[in-house]
């Protein structure tokens, strides 16, 4: 069975105008440009085999994602309703293009026109995204159990570190966080977990704007425009 080159480009032609209206909506909501939305739509169609929705299995089957230690959390983040900004909780079975785009919008870099306020909001949104990734039971706190799980995923799968060692590392890291955030904790106090505010505190020094974004290129921007030179 010969694998054919991925399709999807041919379908765009006829329904161009109808798509444009839809895209304007999406552009406003997500902040991407129209070209970027088109490119992402093509990618969506490739991933979904030209269906309307993507399932977990389809995202799981991306070969370059297989190397990633936190693959499960990343895939889960796409199906998490909290990332859709609709104040819903739970997770979906499948996602459509709009949901796909909304999750991608968390990784949009700030443009030159973003004000300081907007940058602050963007930062909060990105942090919230990461927090949701770790806080799987959605109680607003990253507990020790959840934290341990993250560390295990990252470290112990390679077989280099046993589970016990990974657990020890996780405990130590958690202790460090606790001591930073609750400085006068008595030895018997039980540290619940990392709340969102603590989370923000930990990552305060980090430049989210430069670390957590993906620069989407405008592929169709002509690098060479010929003939009608206005200069």
């Amino acid at each position: 069975m010969r694998p054919d080159a991925p399709r999807g480009t041919a379908a765009m032609g006829a329904s161009q105008t109808r798509n444009e209206h839809k895209y304007h909506d999406l552009a406003d909501k997500s902040g991407f440009s129209l070209e970027q939305i088109e490119n992402l739509y093509k990618r969506f169609q490739q991933l979904s085999d030209n269906e309307e929705t993507i399932s977990r299995e389809q995202l799981d089957s991306i070969p370059s994602l297989a190397n990633n230690p936190i693959k499960k959390q990343i895939v889960e983040a796409f199906f998490d309703k909290r990332n859709q900004h609709h104040n819903e909780v739970g997770s979906c079975g499948e996602i459509g293009f709009e949901q796909f785009l909304m999750v991608m919008s968390h990784f949009r870099p700030p443009s030159l026109k973003t004000t300081e306020e907007e940058k602050e909001t963007m930062r909060k949104v990105k942090l919230r995204f990461l927090f949701n990734m770790h806080d799987t039971d959605n109680d607003g706190i990253i507990t020790l159990v959840e934290y341990r799980k993250v560390v295990e995923e990252l470290l112990s799968k390679s077989g280099n570190i046993e589970q016990e060692a990974a657990k020890a590392i996780a405990d130590a890291a958690m202790l460090e966080v606790a001591s930073t955030n609750v400085p006068h904790m008595a030895p018997d106090d039980f540290y619940e977990g990392i709340t969102f505010e603590h989370f923000e505190q930990i990552l305060k020094g980090l430049e989210m704007e430069s670390r957590m974004h993906i620069r989407f290129l405008d592929v169709d921007t002509p690098t060479l425009r010929c003939g009608k030179s206005t200069s």
Binding site: I62, P63, N68, M133, H134, N160, L203, I214, V219, K228
Partner: protein, 478 residues
């Protein structure tokens, strides 16, 4: 009484056609050639007195001269594999024009930001390694006194890489045409083509026309006339389909010639004719092929594996030597003729599914040392020539000597990638024939034996865990 052999008439050759006769030179043909020559000479003499009615005769004479020129300058060198240097000159002129044009365009838009590197994708990837990025992420906080150095910010790196993989991965990148660093003046390779200046169009035409009209079509026209024993009767063919037919005609020509040959010479002659015909086809596509490392050329009884970009790969490889190919069933006449002339490997459609049968048949072919090397494309599909897809392992299980060959097309002159979901075979061939030229390099590789590397999958995690634990031990020693 008409003793002439069967003649094909063409609409623009009213005075009787050239003979679609056999290879043996008729005395009549010789006489006729002489007559035509004197005719031409006479026309030249009377050129000064030409009137409007003689214009047709003049055109005819010009066509004939052109024809003879084409035969001597294109066909004969093509058949015997030497070059008169015309194509090379054409290429040099073309390259210089493209460079000049690019400079001109760039000058006009010096203030716009030009992407220096042709990125083939949707996103811009950071070049930093994992260590570097994680170092930067951790810079903002002091090292902990005890315990491993792990922090939530480590997840950033992996999250970002994960999202990047979802947006784009290496596999899909290989199925779109390669983007050029500088535009090669073909509208089809410019994604956002808006407006072409008239000047550029005329430049295009000026360079392009002799190639398009002269080279390919006349060449294919000639080839179609060489065929002898076919039952084709196509007097009114247009140029381009005749190029398709000429491919089949070459085969039949070869088969016909083989009928008259002594059995011992059969293979040698068949190879020779094979290569000649493929060379004509290659010239028909105005292909310039550079061969490197010819000492590693595939030998008999081996398997040649190559990367696959377009169906023309076969023509390109066979210009240099003869290969046996693996075929599913073809049309009756062609198949029977081919079987007689050259031992290709044939399969029925149903047989292709049976792996053992396929393997066995290939093994039989390979073990017979007099048989030609089999040509296999292990990628299984056409890829866009920027990278190589994972090989299917079937061809390597046979156990014969493998000769790897690499084919690289020069993208400046035209995009050779066949995107089978976008273009059909016919429109693809049309595109091939109307691009500037087909320049490709073929490297014959020698197979080296090397140790298999560790699986990359575990490497990343090992690296990361050593980062965490390694620092743990160093901080513990404080």
């Amino acid at each position: 009484m008409n003793t002439e052999p069967r003649v094909m008439r063409f609409p623009y050759c009213p005075h009787g056609a050239l003979h679609g006769g056999s290879l043996r030179l008729h005395r009549r043909t010789v006489v006729r050639t002489g007559l035509l020559y004197t005719q031409a000479k006479g026309l030249l003499d009377t050129l000064g007195k030409v009137e409007m009615e003689d214009f047709g005769a003049f055109v005819l004479w010009a066509l004939k001269i052109w024809l003879y020129l084409v035969i001597s300058l294109i066909m004969i060198p093509a058949m015997f594999g030497f070059s008169l240097g015309i194509s090379e000159t054409y290429m040099t002129i073309l390259v210089k024009t493209l460079e000049w044009a690019t400079l001109k365009i760039q000058k006009g838009h010096a203030d716009e930001q030009l992407e220096a590197s042709a990125s083939n994708g949707l996103i811009q990837r950071e070049d930093g390694s994992m260590e570097k990025e994680l170092e930067e992420l951790r810079r903002s906080r002091p090292k902990p006194p005890v315990g491993g150095d792990f922090t939530l910010s480590d997840c950033f790196y992996f999250t970002r890489r994960g999202i990047e993989s979802i947006v784009e991965d290496e596999v899909t990148q290989r199925f779109t045409s390669e983007e050029l660093v500088s535009w090669n003046l073909l509208t089809r390779s410019h994604k956002d083509f808006e407006y072409i200046s008239l000047k550029l169009t005329l430049d295009n035409l000026g360079l392009h026309w002799p190639h398009l009209v002269g080279h390919r079509n006349i060449c294919s026209w000639i080839t179609s006339k060489l065929e002898v024993t076919t039952n084709y009767n196509n007097p009114n063919d247009s140029h381009i389909p005749s190029n398709f037919f000429s491919y089949g005609d070459c085969y039949l020509l070869m088969c016909a010639s083989l009928r008259m040959c002594v059995f011992r010479m059969k293979f040698w002659l068949s190879e020779l004719v094979h290569v000649m015909c493929y060379r004509i086809c290659a010239r028909g596509l105005s292909a310039t092929i550079h061969y490197h490392n010819r000492e590693n050329k595939p030998k008999k009884g081996g398997i040649c594996v190559a990367n696959h970009t377009s169906p023309i790969d076969v023509v390109i490889l066979c210009n240099d030597g003869c290969y046996a190919m693996v075929h599913g069933g073809l049309m009756g006449v062609l198949q029977r003729a081919m079987v007689r002339s050259c031992p290709h490997v044939w399969f029925e459609r149903a047989e292709m599914k049976d792996r053992h049968l396929v393997t066995k048949r290939l093994q039989d072919h390979v073990n017979d040392k007099t048989k030609l090397p089999i040509l296999i494309f292990p990628e299984g599909t056409c890829v866009n020539n920027t990278s190589v897809m994972m090989f299917k392992k079937g061809s390597f299980e046979i156990g014969a000597t493998i000769y790897p060959v690499a084919i690289k097309y020069d993208p400046k002159f035209g995009d050779a990638f066949w995107n089978s979901s976008k273009y059909s075979m016919v429109s693809y061939l049309l595109r091939m024939m109307t691009s500037w030229a087909l320049v490709c390099n073929v490297w014959d590789g020698g197979l080296k034996r090397a140790k298999v590397k560790e699986s990359f999958k575990e490497e990343q995690q090992k690296q990361y865990s050593s980062m965490v634990v390694g620092e743990d031990s160093s901080s513990n020693s404080d």
